[in-house]
């Protein structure tokens, strides 16, 4: 069972995955992992494996869809794409993230 610490990470990871798929279009798991590492400039040290349970969870919730396809260098890979529900979820989560970070900033600044 995940500890409370990794749950925070999980929430962040959820948002990152959705955002990546939103901006990059359909991608395979390795691509998503790579992209997240690039964008975060390797600040976010992520076991790439932890991505897969998260992807599965998103799929079970209907936020993303998956399909087997062929990669750029002709390799069989599973491609994930954002669904309409996923896009809505992303908007909601991004918004709540903004609210949250704004609030934390305010708190940090006033004290």
């Amino acid at each position: 069972m995940p500890s409370s610490k990794s749950e925070v990470l999980q929430g962040t990871l959820d948002l990152l995955v959705l955002k990546t798929l939103d901006s990059m279009g359909p991608m395979h798991g390795f691509g998503i992992a790579l992209r997240i590492q690039q964008v975060s400039e390797d600040l976010l040290q992520l076991n790439q494996g932890t991505l897969y349970p998260a992807l599965l969870r998103h799929e079970q919730r209907g936020w993303i869809a998956s399909k087997w396809g062929v990669s750029e260098n002709n390799r069989k890979a599973k491609y994930y794409s954002l669904t309409r529900a996923g896009r809505k979820q992303l908007e909601e989560e991004a918004e709540s993230w903004d609210r949250m970070s704004a609030m934390i900033n305010r708190v940090l600044r006033t004290t």
Binding site: F30, N47, G49, Y52, L56, R57, R61, N73, K78
Partner: protein, 889 residues
């Protein structure tokens, strides 16, 4: 919310496509690693570094997969299935253990389910075809100064019907019997006298024809119609589709068959299946005591009420009591001191629900005991096995299984056992549905009907029992597991016979529990057995073995009063002339039988009743020589003679209680008493005897001469040393001489009659006896199991003792003393519990103290013997220990 449902469904679906999804996962992980490796190669790493780096950044592969699997399926269900598979494998691997455990549970749960089904089918939902039984209540009268319920009169019932607003319908249903002759076969049949609303009010729609129409229950003998039962229609009328409109003679009167009741409808009398129904207008044909529909003093009705929706019993009772009060004020002559009472169906006072209630209550307690004992046994077995599996558990813990996971597996195994046991138990209950009837003595012709009902309530209760059993069973080894420590389990373990080891207290505790519960059951069975014996040997106040009883049914044969009188006079002379017959006498009702006595309000010269009391007394119409024939001694005066006929002065014989209550020590001979509005002179006082039940308290009772109070129906009592069979043959011959178409009923001794009247006690004794024996057996097995296990676990210690010079007798004594200490502890506990519990047998006990020392002593001896027997084999085995081998191992 929809999201959650979708998620659940997808996870559920994943359970069924596991292998395909597993391949998918493998492919995906592989493709990820390959892509990562390729990228690393492009960055210029060596092949080996590229691979290692790919694996490193992926993280633990198996861990990922495991997390993925957790996310994919429903972990709970998946592991449960796993546990189930594993549990089944464990059961298969030790069939001896499995069979024993399942057998114990089958018996325990089966006994519970069977008793639940009886309680449901006899007490709570006794009439399966009747709609909305939860709204039905039984209705009876009450009388001040009488503890029991009384019947109700027809005019009172009509007044209740008119005045009560909370009650939907009043449903009259009075049991009666007649001889039914169809074709060449005649047999005794039970039927009901009912109100015209009967079938509509209980929601039973005749299969053919109609029920009764409004108004058919009024007018003296005005509506000779009948509805017959499905069984009667199929069995006696061969399912004749043209049956409606045909006629059938019932008690000598031709009735038109207007309907056939549906299959599965047995009427509304717990204990007997009704074969036909007639409207109340025909009451006079089937009931003694003349036309009663306009007589407020004649109480004969048994009835039910159906409450209106939303009305509860207390509200209805309140209203009914108010009406009863008004009737009391309006009709003081007949209703003074009378009330009306409602009863829940399971307490119905006028059918077998009331008689079986205490038995079933006891049975409920007993089967819970048996279940506990069975569970303790299985718990013990599991415990012994859990020691054997300690190694397995330790390994599981060592490779990282959580304790919760182990607990869950043990509980699953318990559930598996109890579920199989429950399935077997329900089968047992199903077979036992009709078993209660078998325990009652067969009575010629009339079908007993005491069905168990296995419905969802019984199933739910059994499931609950099963669940509790599971918890009990699973928790015992679980307690052990939670104490399991990895290091300790690696060390060699040795249990001792003497000390018993640290954990043995659980097993010993279970045995203690079993021994004490079995002791309680044995004491209960013993007490019931003793009461039954006392009842059987109690003197009813008349001779039982010397008197043979039978009857010739002249009513159904259509005899009128005059013909019947001639026939009976003739017959009694012929019977008295038979060789071996000492005396013979007719009486309308036979004591301790199913017939009901006449009753009447009385007035006694010189006795002023308390203001609110209307003295009423039961009486029997008897022929000349009745007292001499039955052997009831007369205290003073004389008994009836042939001269006490219609033309003579009216006379009566009182019993001692009657004499003491109404004449208070004066000699009543020559005094007057008014019965049914006629003054009669007391000519004799008879010793008290039992009239309705062997257990009844002495009550005032009167006898009047048959000739002065004639009705056709009568029983014939014959005093003779001849066997009932011999009497039957001789009597049949004499009857045929008088009327070739007649045959007497079965001839039985009054003792037989008495025995039949005590069948509820017999049923209780039989059932508690069977279950008590079962419990004893289970407890003995439990003790045996614990002792053999202790011996087998301590061969090393025993061997050492032998090597140090202990002889066989020492070892025998060692093991036996430990077993007997357990037995003694169980017995001590059992005595304490039994002393507290046997009081609950209350009403079923007859002249036996609930603390009867003889019973306690016998149970003690039996348990001790069982304990000795159970310990002996293991002890003997201990003496056979080979010290050399034991020490070398």
């Amino acid at each position: 919310m929809r999201e959650l449902v979708r998620m659940f469904l997808r996870r559920l679906a994943a359970l069924f496509r596991r292998s395909g999804l597993e391949d998918d996962l493998d492919d995906e992980v592989r493709s990820h690693l390959e892509m990562a490796e390729e990228l690393n190669l492009q960055k210029g790493m060596s092949a080996e570094d590229a691979r290692r780096e790919a694996l490193r950044s992926f993280g633990g592969i198996e861990q990922t997969k495991e997390n993925y699997r957790d996310q994919r399926g429903l972990r709970m269900i998946e592991t449960t299935l796993q546990d189930l598979r594993f549990g089944l494998r464990m059961l298969r691997r030790s069939p001896g253990f499995s069979i024993l455990a399942i057998l114990c549970l089958t018996l325990g749960i089966g006994a519970n389910a069977a008793v639940f089904s009886w309680v449901e089918g006899i007490l709570f939902r006794p009439y399966p075809a009747v709609t909305r039984q939860e709204q039905l209540l039984a209705l009876s009268g009450t009388a001040r100064g009488e503890s029991g319920p009384t019947a109700i009169s027809w005019p009172d019932l009509l007044d209740l019907q008119r005045s009560c607003t909370l009650i939907d319908s009043f449903i009259v249903s009075k049991i009666m019997g007649t001889t039914l002759s169809v074709g060449d076969r005649a047999e005794r049949t039970a039927g009901s006298i009912v109100s015209a609303n009967y079938f509509d009010a209980i929601g039973v729609h005749p299969l053919l024809g109609r029920g009764f129409e409004p108004g058919e229950d009024s007018g003296r003998n005005a509506h000779p119609v009948t509805v017959i039962s499905y069984q009667l229609w199929k069995g006696r009328f061969n399912g004749d589709p043209q049956i409606i409109g045909k006629t059938q003679r019932l008690n000598g009167v031709v009735h038109t068959i207007v309907g056939v009741a549906p299959e599965g409808f047995y009427g509304t009398f717990v204990g007997w299946g009704m074969q036909f129904w007639v409207p109340a207008s025909m009451e006079e044909i089937f009931e003694a005591g003349g036309y009663k529909l306009e007589d407020r003093g004649a109480r004969w009705i048994e009835a039910y009420v159906r409450l209106k929706a939303g009305v509860n019993a207390a509200q209805a009772q309140e209203e009914i009591s108010a009406v009863g009060k008004r009737l009391e004020a309006d009709y003081p002559d007949t209703n003074r001191g009378r009330g009306i009472k409602l009863w829940p169906l399971w307490q119905t006072p006028f059918n077998n629900a009331g008689t079986l209630l205490p038995t079933l209550e006891i049975m409920l307690a007993v089967v819970v005991f048996v279940l506990l004992i069975a569970c303790a046994n299985v718990g013990n077995l599991l415990l012994v096995r859990s020691f054997a599996r300690r190694h397995e558990m330790t390994v599981r813990l060592a490779i990282g299984a959580g304790r919760g996971r182990l607990l869950k597996q043990l509980l699953t195994e318990g559930l598996l056992l109890s579920a199989i046991g429950a399935a077997g138990g329900l089968l047992v209950a199903y077979w036992c549905r009709h078993a209660l009837v078998l325990l009652f003595p067969a009575r010629a012709g009339v079908a007993m009907h005491l069905p168990g009902e296995i419905d969802w309530r019984v199933l739910a209760l059994s499931a609950g029992v099963c669940l509790i059993a599971t918890l009990l069973l699973g928790l015992v080894p679980a307690m052990q597991t939670s104490k399991l420590d990895l290091a300790g389990a690696l060390k060699a373990e040795s249990a001792g016979v003497v000390g018993g080891g640290g954990r043995a207290w659980v097993r010993s505790g279970l045995v203690l529990l079993q021994m004490s519960l079995s002791f309680v059951l044995l004491v209960g069975a013993g007490l019931l057995l003793q009461s039954l014996q006392r009842i059987r040997t109690a003197s009813p106040g008349f001779s039982t073995r010397e008197v043979k009883m039978t009857a010739v049914d002249l009513v159904s044969a259509g005899y009128d009063a005059q013909r019947a009188q001639n026939f009976q006079d003739e017959l009694i002379e012929r019977v008295k002339a038979l060789p071996g017959v000492e005396l013979a006498a007719f009486a309308r009702v036979t004591p301790l039988g199913y017939g009901t006595y006449s009753s009447s309000p009385i007035a006694v010269d010189g006795y002023q009743p308390p203001l609110e009391e209307q003295p009423t007394v039961e009486y029997n119409e008897v022929g000349p020589d009745y007292f001499a024939t039955l052997g009831i001694p007369l205290v003073s005066g004389r008994e009836f003679a042939r001269a006490d006929d219609e033309k003579a002065a009216l006379v009566v014989v009182a019993n001692e209680t009657m004499s003491a209550k109404y004449w208070r020590g004066r000699n009543p001979i020559g005094e007057r008493v008014q019965v049914k509005g006629r003054w009669m002179q007391v000519v004799g006082v008879a010793k008290d005897s039992k009239y309705q039940s062997i257990r009844e308290a002495p009550k005032p009772f009167l006898f009047v001469p048959r000739r002065q109070n004639f009705s056709v129906g009568a029983t014939l009592n014959i005093r003779t040393p001849l066997s009932p069979e011999a009497v039957a043959t001789a009597l049949a011959r004499e009857v045929r001489v008088l009327d070739a178409n007649l045959a007497p009923y079965e001839v039985i001794t009054l003792q037989e009659q008495l025995d039949r009247s005590t069948s509820p006690q017999k049923v209780a004794v039989t059932l508690v006896g069977i279950l008590g024996g079962l419990a004893l057996l289970l407890a003995a097995i439990g003790l045996y199991g614990v002792m053999s296990y202790a011996v087998s676990q301590s061969t090393r210690e025993l061997g050492l003792r032998m090597a140090l010079g202990a002889g066989a007798s020492n070892l025998l004594r060692l093991v036996m003393s430990r077993g007997l200490a357990l037995t003694a502890g169980g017995l001590a506990l059992g005595v304490a519990v039994a002393l507290g519990l046997t009081r609950l047998l209350g009403n079923l006990l007859y002249k036996v103290s609930p603390r009867d020392p003889l019973t306690f002593g016998s149970a003690f001896v039996i348990m001790t013997i069982a304990g000795l027997a159970a310990c002996f084999l293991p002890a003997w085995r201990a003496t056979r220990t080979d010290p050399v081998r034991a020490l070398r191992e």
